[in-house]
């Protein structure tokens, strides 16, 4: 393979830094409005004068149940003091957590939900995408049952390509409800519970430990990146392979040199194994060797047991 320097990579970095500076300079002064400092609480009854529809649903929710028991200012627990909003009927004069985003400092929700689960929200991709808690969670109506199937439906409302992939012939059992998106992804920016390092390999091995080894006889792509051969959300090929065999394997390996030659048009007449007699065709050899590499190379993720021939150093991953 030719090894070339890539000057555009450096230029790309310079371009990036420049563009970042432009962003900073170009920032406008549009700020999210908050209640004036002299605003005072008005109590739930005042809020419900106008927002009675919200109040009926809210009372049934977990938040409503808890907050209504301990305070008459449950609305303002999240929305802040409402006097200015009441006087001016200005929606910008009250905190609206549903409109908060990454530029508004710490989310109102996180002031109570401050456990370790949410401590990576500052760097979470969903936060950086201008999403907030309300993008996924409904606060004013009841939505407690976060079962696997419901979570998967929620995620795929936006991640449509993933939803489509789950309908491919080979897929992780997301649509069956036996897996949840949360088994691999943390929408709040953290990692999976049983994955120790932040790598895709580690994530896959946390559920498929038999593939990790270490083995005496390795297959280098397994050590490199599972995604070289697999696409986790769904594929047409079996076993979540990105292509069918042997095309996938032949992208990196020459086929056996028997494979491209013509087959024998007739019957086997093997003197040492008459019971293995069969018939074949002129294209037979090609057909045989072009089907699935893993029919013989069964231990494709690695093994401790040597294959049979000395000249391959036992490294053929057939046993």
């Amino acid at each position: 393979m030719k090894k070339q320097a890539r000057p555009h990579s450096f230029l790309f970095g310079v371009f990036g830094v420049t563009l970042s500076c432009v962003f900073v300079l170009f920032t406008s002064l549009v700020m999210a409005k908050t209640p004036p400092a002299d605003a005072v609480p008005v109590g739930n009854s005042v809020c419900l004068d106008c927002h009675d529809d919200v109040g009926i649903d809210f009372a049934k929710t977990m938040h409503g149940t808890l907050l209504n028991k301990v305070s008459d200012n449950s609305c303002e627990s999240c929305h802040g003091p409402g006097s200015a909003h009441v006087e001016n009927e200005d929606p910008d004069m009250i905190i609206n957590p549903a409109r908060q985003n990454q530029f508004d400092g710490k989310s109102t929700c996180l002031s109570c939900h401050n456990t370790d689960n949410f401590s990576n929200w500052a760097m979470a991709d969903h936060n950086a995408a201008d999403m907030n808690c309300s993008s996924c969670h409904t606060i004013h109506s009841d939505d407690v049952a976060w079962t696997s199937g419901k979570i998967n439906n929620l995620c795929t409302e936006c991640h449509l390509d993933v939803k489509a992939s789950a309908f491919m012939p080979s897929h992780h059992p997301l649509k069956e409800g036996n897996m949840s998106c949360l088994d691999c992804h943390d929408p709040h920016g953290g990692g999976a519970t049983f994955a120790h390092e932040s790598s895709i390999r580690e994530l896959c091995f946390s559920c498929h430990p038999e593939k990790e080894g270490p083995f005496i006889f390795e297959h280098a792509p397994v050590n490199e990146d599972c995604m070289l051969c697999h696409s986790p959300h769904g594929t047409v090929a079996d076993n979540l392979l990105t292509q069918t065999e042997p095309a996938l394997c032949l992208n990196c390996h020459s086929m056996h040199f028997h494979a491209a030659i013509e087959g024998w048009d007739g019957a086997f007449t093997t003197p040492q194994a008459p019971e293995r007699a069969g018939t074949t065709t002129a294209d037979g050899w090609k057909e045989g060797m072009l089907t699935k590499c893993s029919q013989c190379h069964t231990e494709i993720h690695g093994t401790d047991l040597p294959s049979q021939t000395i000249s391959t150093s036992g490294n053929a991953l057939t046993r």
């Binding site: 030719k2 555009h8 790309f12 990036g16 970042s20 962003f23 920032t27 406008s28 049934k60 149940t65 530029f103 710490k106 456990t115 370790d116 760097m123 950086a128 407690v144 079962t147 409302e157 449509l160 390509d161 939803k163 489509a164 080979s170 059992p173 409800g177 036996n178 049983f194 120790h196 390092e197 932040s198 790598s199 946390s206 038999e210 083995f215 792509p221 992208n251 990196c252 020459s254 040199f257 494979a259 024998w264 007739g266 086997f268 069969g278 074949t280 050899w285 057909e287 029919q295 069964t298 231990e299 294959s307 049979q308 021939t309 000395i310 000249s311 391959t312 150093s313 036992g314 057939t318």
Partner: protein
């Protein structure tokens, strides 16, 4: 099965105890439940079982049963969700929480994965002229292969002290995989003969995670310990390996036998080594003004207990997020990992020992392809340009320096990426985002010497003392590195969402990716994919949702299919 039921029982008791303690102390404010009883029937007429099929039914009427239960008090919540489709397909979730001091979650999953049987019909063939051949044998032609996976997971979070919010966090998962699988073993010489047999699956994985965390001012420090053990308790599957002789003429036993590590013997095949993995992780996170930061250091060691072979990973990561201005944020991420696997010496018999000519020694030391230093860093700047428009730009680098890399000119793989994203948002009703990402790599991962690139016979000499050129000499002609990993990639992602009201949500998306590697001497590769999609969700009320959508995926690859340049 005893173990899994024991664990199941213990977990259930703990969650139930939590619930009972909480429920007994206070009045229930709300208690709701729903029960579903039904039946399902799936017609499998003309149905071909295949690998990867999750069985959700059978050719008979099956009962369905599901339950949702919720109990809430001023200081507790308990929920139970369960679904039973048949004895192999069961889902159950339980969650219990008492105030801010204790929470417990429990999950049980049981699923059934159907596997097809490869009848190996394609593997009965012979070279032109009556030469080398390939035969197969199915020892268990009627086998119905499957994997039954059962998974139990529980997690607990207990506040030990209000002062400094000291918490004990623990999680446990047990995965049982049982069933039968097809195993194919291949025997060289005699004939190239494949034997398909039935192997029992009985794998068990236990994982635990336990840790402590505490708040120190605005900072949180934590420690986690992880341990995983994997064991296969199935009887070792075995296969017969033929006495090596000439595949056509049945002669030259000594010659062919001298090329084999083993022959005329029954040996284990497809053995899963028992492994264990332990890990330690220290974390530190905190806030300072408008900035957030965090870091972690972790160490893990995985051991193949069958061969006393270990791999280690030492890694660290850090992030820093801050406001550069009122409406501009910066997020920086960095990570470094050092991965090592012990080398091991592979002692092999001499090749053609006792035959004419000099025997060849194929002993070697296996240095692992995993050994490497992996460095990553990225910076993202996000800026709100006005009330409706947000833009972000990110760039980063990844460097992978492999210690034992057989490819020629083994420089480290360096990957730069850049990404620009613009998001337009009009209130809560409408949003559109457009993202473009560019990646550029030098020296991407290759299959070292995976490809022949020259005719062999004319440049190969027979081995001293013989009149023959042997296969291993031809193997040595593989000197062309080959890869499917691109050196350039362009990715476009457009999504648009419209919510005319709280009950209707329309999403439109389009993704496209083009990548290529034209640095190869003779074989350029490129891939193109695109996927438009559309989805409509109508939430009629909290209990009814109507969803409809469609997606079209197009993928096109241009790559090498390597062919032989000489015959055997």
């Amino acid at each position: 099965m005893k173990r899994i039921f024991t664990i199941l029982l213990q977990s259930l008791l703990l969650v139930a105890l939590t619930f009972m303690v909480a429920a007994g102390q206070e009045e229930k404010i709300e208690e709701t439940y729903s029960v579903w009883i039904g039946s399902s029937y799936t017609d499998f007429t003309d149905y071909t079982k295949k690998i990867g099929e999750f069985r959700n039914g059978d050719d008979e009427f099956l009962p369905e049963f599901s339950i949702d239960y919720l109990s809430r008090g001023i200081n507790h919540i308990f929920s139970l969700n369960g679904k039973y489709r048949d004895e192999n397909n069961i889902i159950a979730d339980m969650s219990s929480k008492i105030g801010d001091g204790f929470s417990a979650d429990f999950k049980y999953r049981s699923m059934f994965k159907q596997a097809g049987q490869d009848m190996l019909a394609n593997l009965e063939t012979r070279e032109a002229g009556g030469g080398k051949m390939l035969t197969h044998e199915i020892l268990d032609p009627g086998a119905d292969y499957y994997v039954h996976r059962k998974e139990i997971e529980s997690s607990f979070n207990l506040r030990l002290s209000k002062k400094n919010n000291i918490r004990l966090i623990a999680a446990h998962r047990t995965v049982l995989q049982t069933g039968i699988e097809q195993h194919i073993a291949s025997s060289h010489c005699f004939s190239c003969h494949l034997t398909s047999s039935t192997a029992t699956i009985d794998k068990i994985t236990h994982q635990i995670m336990a840790g402590l965390q505490a708040d120190l001012g605005k900072n949180t420090v934590g420690y986690q310990f992880g341990y995983r053990i994997f064991e296969s308790e199935a009887p070792v599957n075995v296969a017969d390996f033929d006495d090596a002789i000439h595949p056509v003429f049945g002669t030259k036993g000594a010659e062919f036998g001298s090329r084999m590590i083993y022959e005329d013997v029954t040996l284990p095949v497809g053995e899963y080594p028992n492994t264990e993995k332990l890990s330690h992780k220290l974390t530190f996170k905190g806030d300072a003004g408008k900035s957030s930061y965090g870091s972690s250091i972790s160490y893990s060691k995985a051991t193949n207990k069958n061969n006393d072979l270990s791999s280690t990973a030492l890694s660290g990561s850090a992030f820093y997020a801050t406001s550069l201005a009122d409406l501009t944020r910066l997020i920086a991420r960095f990570s470094v990992a050092r991965l090592d696997v012990e080398s091991t010496f592979v002692d092999l018999p001499l090749y053609r020992d006792g035959r004419p000519g000099t025997p060849k020694d194929f002993d070697f030391t296996r240095y692992s392809s995993l050994n490497r230093l992996d460095l990553r860093g990225s910076v993202e700047v996000i800026s709100r340009l006005n009330k409706r428009l947000t833009a972000s730009f990110s760039t980063g680098i990844r460097l992978v320096d492999r210690e034992y890399y057989p490819a020629d000119d083994a420089d480290a793989t360096t990957t730069f990426f850049g990404q620009a994203k613009v998001r337009y948002r009009k209130g809560m009703r409408y949003s559109t985002s457009v993202k473009y990402r560019f990646e550029s790599s030098s020296n991407p991962f290759t299959s070292a010497r995976g490809l022949f690139e020259a005719r062999g016979r004319s440049i190969l000499n027979s081995v001293d003392g013989t009149a023959f050129v042997y296969y291993w000499q031809r193997e040595d002609l593989r000197y062309q590195d080959i890869t499917t990993v691109p050196t350039q990639a362009h990715i476009l992602d457009v999504t648009s969402s419209w919510r005319p009201n709280n009950k209707v949500n329309l999403n439109v998306g389009f993704k496209a990716k083009y990548d290529k590697n034209d640095n190869l001497d003779s074989l350029d590769i490129s891939h193109f994919s695109m996927q438009p999609s559309l989805a409509l969700n109508v939430n009629i009320d909290p209990k009814w949702t109507v969803s409809a959508g469609g997606s079209y995926a197009f993928k096109k690859s241009r790559g090498p299919v390597t062919i032989a340049l000489f015959d055997g």
